[in-house]
Amino acid sequence: MPAADGSAEEFRRRGHAVVVGASLAGLRAAETLREEGFAGTLTMIGDEPHEPYDRPPLSKQVLLGRTGAGDTLLPRRRALEARWLLGTAATGLDLAGRRVRLAGGEEVRYDRLLIATGTRARPWIKETEAALDGVLTLRTGDDAARLARRLDARPRRVLVIGAGFTGSEITSACRERGIDVTVAERGPAPLVGALGGVVGAVAAELHHAHGVDLRCGITVTALEGDPAGRLRCAHLSDGTTLEADAAVVALGAVRNTEWLAGSGLAAGPRGVACDAGCRAFDVHGIVTDDVFVAGDVARSPHPLFGYQFLSLEHWGNAVAQAEVAAHNMVSPGPERRPHLWLPAFWSAQFGINIKSVGVPPMGRELAIVQGSLAERRFAAVYGHQGRVIAAVTFDHGRWLPFYGRLIETAAPFPPDFAQVDRAPGGPRPIPAEFPDPALPTHGPTVTLSGYAPSERRVTFVPARV
């Protein structure tokens, strides 16, 4: 069979490619396969009934009522000629037999497989409370439609649980629509898990300036419903009770790997481990040659960050990794490429464009290199062991490519050169104030997940040494 003898050419001509997860990474990978001349059969398996759509607008335009939840379909780069199995979940994988099992019991054979099953919203811990009418999450288009309908009904108060990026964007949309919001965040400030306490403090000011009832250092201990099963109030860890018509649980994401349990792949709660060429590892830490991984579900080593395994919940990563995975699926060994994408992310909230490159949570210190925190318009760089490791901008996005290059060239931290908007002598580094990694906060979008590929042999290596 094509893949068995390793003939990429044979596969390219008449192999069977199967993509599980028909969203951003899955679609872009499929398009790349065709672009690179893959002429075999292509099967797209997705458990959502919809054609691939874009998620970032769901917490932005859609909640503002500017765009319908069903109107964020991804533009296609080219025609695909694929068999689409939508509304069909994959439930198992037979590695040796090269078969994907489907929910209906059917099996689909593959020569090469791409796993792009992404993540789902972390549900509220207590199932009965999660089932209350008015308790919502936001990951899918259907979620967004539900939440948008709620907001249209003008709730008196919305409780947002978790002030990561998604929670903050939801909060921002509510405020823009004039809806009262309370935010409960376990950490000391919004976005601390992703950007640290210094920048988190700016985010907190943004919340306050927009009239958000922001409560940090607080957890929600229980959600309480009325006899009809509708959410009535939330109990908070400081002993107070808060009445709310809706609660949005924004506690980060869970990776969709359950269907791979027992398959022999190195898949678990932290994702599916793969090498820099997007090839999945098996549980022994041996790399497979016919199973590839891309997008939010993947964790892969990155040379710029000490070969630590990164799990990136970033739109741009899903696209870039999908392209590399697809290229490698149809290419013989020497032509394969590593996925060396510099992590990059954006978020729009409270009328501010937040962008980042690199891995901010690796930074111990940061320096404000342009603009000022007080104006909420700035560029900050993060340092790790004397190197620039990340940069974050608030409404300063045009400079970001420059800081990206500093990361790629391992430029010294703190930056020691004169530049516009800064007195000579350079900026003063201050602690970035990331919370103790042992106390995870809500919604960091980059997670460093240690070094070794195989779950069995890994003892977790804390992100920050």
């Binding site: 872009r28 335009q61 296609r76 954006w346 729009a348 009328g351 501010i352 464009n353 962008k355 490519p401």
Partner: protein, 74 residues
């Protein structure tokens, strides 16, 4: 839209104000699936984006590829 590439030059919002809007100084909001009557506006926006962050596809028409995914830096 590849908003990682977007540097908020707002050219799209000038060219296609019914589809793209700046939300504050640098945050871009857009209508992901604009109607056919906006086609010309959108083509103008996509062509004028200085970093080619806008990918356009129309039903029936060929997808118009751009630099967004070629690995080009900008």
């Amino acid at each position: 839209m590849d908003l990682n590439r977007c540097e908020a030059y707002a050219q799209c919002a000038f060219q296609a104000p019914d589809v793209f809007a700046m939300h504050g100084e640098e945050a871009l909001m857009y209508e992901p699936c604009p109607g056919d009557e906006r086609r010309e506006q959108v083509m103008r926006a996509a062509a004028s984006c200085p970093v080619q962050a806008i990918l356009v596809e129309w039903p029936g028409g060929p997808a118009v590829p751009e630099g967004a995914a070629t690995g080009a830096r900008g």
